[in-house]
């Protein structure tokens, strides 16, 4: 496991770009009532350029500045959003429900929108034979969709922009409408992007995830460069109406400043076809088909690539195209990877090759095919990171290579089984540049707004978090830094990949890699979580089935972990405590569906001269626990943060009638001569869990017999 010194890390993490003001972050009122899709006037696609200078117009008193942002929401049926950015051009799209005399003005200064090199295509809903060459196939009757291509832009430059109807400015002059062009392909520019999946409910959870990202970036002084959506952005069928309400309205404050590069999900696939490029998804997005922003031409909007500095991004269609190695998409992918000169490759698509969240990658066809057919091409082409969704969970792998078998196994595929955290086991290390089979990290980030869940445990995962959130990635020079931000704005996972010339391209997979514990219906042998196997020789200071004071179904008073706490009102019982799996002495048969946490404590003596190095907690548990020695937390297993009822982030774990050993080395200062107090809170991951176990013992290990 690689380590990056903390000082070095602090230099790597910051994003150097100067942030720009972002106003009215959650003004979501731009969505207008939607009309039924019926017969619509056919319209010719029109491309025209506006030559008027706003200053000139203003000087004759003709420009009407928008008084308030409300004007924008009154006119736009879909607020302006950015698409298909390149170093020298970008699209701004918007919709109105009446025809306007549209123009766009832009400039590098807020009060100097002095440029107007724009080609605007107007698209209208298809109705009859005169509907023009590029109609909208699914928009409500009366819709006008404007797609304005700004050209002649400088690379990596911020522009402010305004949309006009004749001389009336529709977007407010508050500085919130701005865009940033891509840097030159191959230039040394970092990139900071947001990846979201399975978000399109239009509900509170989705809004929370978005707001958490906005607030996190505001505090950090960062601006997004890109927004990747890995699919399922408009539940339940990806209709035009669902796109408007559950995607465009929801993310409007972000979409006006940051282009969204999307991959099609199965829910969009109910009304949009990847083969023909027809449907609401394709009405919404302008995706590159001719390598407009780098990469190779795919000829299909549902899979494509683009470059940002030295990072190559690839979007794939995992839903409704041929995923076989001989198919057009796979052939394109191989050619694209062979061509790129980038230092990093990030690939995103909807169906995850590895997951045991709400979907099972060992059972479902699309997921199996993405793993068996597409992952080998990606990894032999040097892919560093995949981002997927579909499964409503956050799962992040170790550094793996060659995990194509069904079912997925950890043996022979884990290159680095550390947590990848620069502040923990250290960043994953790879060889500089792109190299075949040098290891990839695979993230399922399908937790962007819908209900989350977990079926089991994928053996290649290092972090499994069952809560809403999103993924932020910052790539700077030789380092990729990943963060999972939950819906409350808390960082729940951090990992990094550092590329260096010192790392060999080919590294053997670990023989006995670390594997996550948890509920895996397919698992034959029980796996240990963070604990070790039981020592061979030991003396029990607190034996199995000892009598403890316990509190179940109610909250303990403050200080319950401290020596001297009066626990005389607590019930006593023999360990283990629990229900459901036949391994408990004290049966808590009222626990299921009523409470999730049980508190136990007891005094015990530590013989004089005992070295903490030899001391350890041996415990059988399901699902998680926090242990305290003399009032201080000494161990936290399967609980990410918080305690008692406010504990969060549980990792399910089966007791399997086994004890795991947790050494207490390093806790010497907490040990008292004579009587000590061990207090433990045991947690069930879910209220309706079928079982619970908490059975601790305290051991002193003995040296092995000679």
């Amino acid at each position: 496991m690689a380590m990056v010194p903390a000082e070095e890390w602090r230099k790597l993490a910051p994003c150097p770009r100067v942030p720009q003001p972002l106003k009215s972050p959650m003004n979501n009122n731009s969505s207008l009532p939607h009309l039924a899709t019926t017969a619509v006037l056919c319209i010719l696609a029109v491309a025209h350029a506006r030559g008027e200078e706003p200053e000139a117009a203003a000087s004759i008193g003709g420009v009407i500045e928008a008084e308030a942002p409300d004007l924008a929401s009154a006119v736009f049926s879909r607020a302006p959003y950015l698409q298909l950015a390149t170093p020298n051009s970008i699209f701004i799209s918007w919709r109105t429900s009446r025809e306007i005399d549209a123009s766009v003005r832009f400039g590098t200064e807020l009060d100097g929108l002095d440029q107007s090199r724009v080609e605007i295509e107007i698209r209208q809903t298809i109705t009859d034979d005169a509907a023009g060459e590029s109609p909208l196939h699914s928009a409500p009757a009366g819709t006008f969709q404007y797609e304005a291509k700004l050209t002649g832009l400088e690379p990596d430059t911020q522009y402010f922009y305004a949309i006009y109807d004749g001389r009336t400015r529709l977007t407010p002059a508050d500085g919130s409408y701005h865009l940033q062009t891509h840097p030159e392909i191959g230039s040394d520019r970092d990139v900071y992007f947001w990846a979201v999946g399975d978000s399109g409910t239009g509900g509170r959870a989705q809004a929370n995830v978005h707001e958490a990202m906005l607030e996190y970036n505001r505090k950090a002084g960062r601006d997004l460069d890109l927004y990747l959506h890995v699919g399922d952005m408009a539940y339940g069928s990806g209709t035009d109406d669902e796109f408007s309400g559950r995607f465009f309205a929801m993310y409007e404050p972000t979409l006006r400043n940051v282009p969204c590069w999307a991959a099609m999900g199965n829910h969009e696939g109910k009304t949009s076809s990847g083969k023909s490029g027809v449907g609401p998804f394709y009405d919404c997005y302008i995706c590159p088909t001719e390598a407009e922003s780098g990469g190779l031409p795919s000829g299909n909007e549902s899979y494509y690539s683009f470059d940002y500095g030295k990072v190559h991004f690839i979007a794939l269609n995992s839903h409704d195209l041929d995923r076989s190695p001989a198919g057009a998409m796979a052939q394109w992918l191989k050619a694209d990877l062979e061509q790129t000169q980038a230092d990093w490759v990030v690939c995103y698509f909807h169906h995850p090759p590895y997951t045991k969240g709400t979907h099972d990658s060992d059972r479902e066809g699309q997921l199996i095919e993405m793993r068996e057919h597409i992952m080998p091409i990606l990894e032999s082409g040097g892919c560093d990171l995949t981002l997927t969704g579909h499964s409503h969970i956050y799962e992040r792998s170790m550094l793996v290579d060659g995990a194509y078998a069904t079912p997925t196994v950890a043996e022979g595929v884990i290159i680095d089984d550390g947590d990848g955290d620069p502040g923990g086991d250290g960043a994953y290390k790879k060889t500089s540049g792109l190299n075949a089979n040098n290891g990839s990290v695979n993230i399922v980030t399908g937790h962007g707004g819908t209900g989350v869940g977990r079926k089991g445990t994928s053996p290649i995962m290092r972090k499994i978090i069952v809560e809403n959130g999103s993924t932020l990635v910052h790539i700077q020079g030789d380092t990729l830094y990943g963060t999972m931000l939950n819906y409350q704005g808390e960082v729940r996972d951090t990992f990094a990949i550092v590329k260096s010339d010192d790392i060999p391209v080919r590294r053997a997979a670990l023989e006995e890699p670390w594997q996550p514990a948890g509920k895996d219906p397919d698992s034959k042998k029980p796996k240990l979580a963070d604990g070790q196997r039981m020592p061979k020789r030991y003396t029990a200071l607190l034996p199995p089935n000892a009598t403890w004071s316990y509190l179940a179904g109610t909250k303990p008073e403050d200080g319950w972990t401290n020596p001297g706490f009066d626990a005389s009102s607590w019930t006593t019982g023999e360990a283990g405590f629990g229900y459901g799996d036949g391994d408990d002495k004290t049966l808590l048969d009222d626990m299921r569906n009523k409470y999730k946490v049980v508190y136990i404590r007891r005094e015990f003596d530590i013989p004089e001269g005992t070295n903490a190095r030899d001391l350890g907690l041996a415990i059988s548990y399901d699902d998680a626990f926090i242990a305290y020695l003399n009032g201080k937390e000494i161990l936290r297993v399967g609980v990410d943060f918080g305690s008692g009822k406010s504990a969060k982030g549980f990792s399910p774990h089966e007791a399997n009638r086994q004890f795991e050993f947790f050494p207490l080395a390093g806790k010497q200062e907490l040990i008292r001569a004579g009587t000590n107090v061990l207090a433990i809170e045991g947690h069930n991951a879910n209220l309706d869990s079928s079982d619970f176990t908490l059975h601790p013992t305290v051991l002193v290990t003995k040296p092995p017999k000679k």
Binding site: S276, G299, P376
Partner: protein, 314 residues
């Protein structure tokens, strides 16, 4: 980049139909969806909408439970004989279990009831795939041609299939023209690369050579273009130069092949390179490696062709 206007959009129609099927907004998992559809089917009894069966069949296909999918698709068709997508999917399911005859019959029904250009073209393309798999190359080509004529935004895969069929039938000039028009219509680099190969195979060396030189120089991983250049060099009698390219390609491919978990597309490339060098046993070893790694006959077709082996039809 923009789809052309088509007659009443089937997809929108299908979307309306399917959106009308009440299901979870964001389904939790496939089994849950199946449960939900089953409950609806049971509750509605004989009045259950065909879309419910179709949707449940789609979920069964995800779980690779093709027998159940087949039964549901048949049920959907029994209720709605003009349900084109159900006919088409049933054809795919039948093809998967090797029943070409029934698969073709199902596609025939899909074609008969198709009401839009896109529906018709899609069904023709699927039937072309099935005919091709059955070795009925001429009929497959006819369907493929008709699909591309019917719907101008045909998928890149359709152009590739047509090219493959034309090659099998020795229609090299037609193949060349078809790939060129496919590329100009879609801009797909896959069709462009196939066109370059067709240029070599039809003796248009002067046209192919500068393109290949440019691509060899530009590519990060050069083996695919080195193989094409070697093919051109061999065809023009420059055996030594071809050999140098092939050895360079094999050297690069070796760094991309992890024997225990290989990318079969790269293994096939190496096998082709060995075959062109005259090392048939090494080429056959790579063919075996690719097959062991799960390659189907489509994935190994280039190598089998290079080795002069007959495709093993189902």
């Amino acid at each position: 980049m923009r789809p052309a206007r088509i007659a009443p959009p089937l997809l929108a129609l299908l979307g309306v139909l399917l959106a009308g099927v009440a299901t979870s907004q964001a389904h939790h998992n496939t089994e849950e969806m199946i449960r939900e559809f089953t409950e609806q089917i049971e509750a509605e009894g004989d009045k259950a909408a065909p879309e419910l069966y179709y949707r449940r069949a789609t979920e069964y296909r995800v779980l690779r439970e093709f027998g159940k999918a087949e039964a549901d698709l048949e049920k959907a068709i029994a209720i709605a004989p003009e349900f084109v997508a159900a006919h088409e999917d049933l054809g795919r399911v039948l093809q998967r279990r090797g029943d070409h005859t029934e698969a073709l019959a199902s596609l025939g029904r899909a074609i008969a009831v198709a009401t839009t250009e896109r529906e018709l073209a899609a069904s023709l393309a699927v039937r072309a795939e099935i005919l091709a798999a059955a070795g009925r190359t001429k009929e497959a080509l006819a369907d493929c041609e008709r699909a591309l004529e019917t719907y101008r935004r045909g998928a890149v895969d359709w152009f590739l299939l047509r090219s493959d069929l034309q090659q099998q039938l020795g229609l090299e000039e037609e193949r060349l023209g078809g790939l060129k028009s496919g590329h100009s219509r879609t801009r797909s680099v896959v069709l462009y690369n196939a066109w370059v190969e067709a240029l070599i195979e039809t003796g248009h060396y002067d046209q192919a050579a500068p393109i290949i030189e440019e691509k060899v120089a530009a590519a990060r991983l050069k083996s695919s273009w080195l193989l094409r250049r070697a093919k051109l060099l061999q065809a023009t009698g420059e055996a030594e130069a071809a050999k140098r390219d092939l050895l360079q390609a094999i050297g690069e491919l070796n760094t991309r092949i992890k024997p225990e978990n290989p990318d079969i597309t790269v293994v096939v490339d190496r096998g082709v390179a060995f075959s062109m060098l005259g090392d048939r046993s090494a080429a056959k070893r790579d063919l075996m490696m690719a097959k062991k790694a799960g390659a189907d006959r489509w994935a190994t077709a280039r190598l089998e062709r290079a080795l002069g082996l007959e495709l093993e039809h189902n």
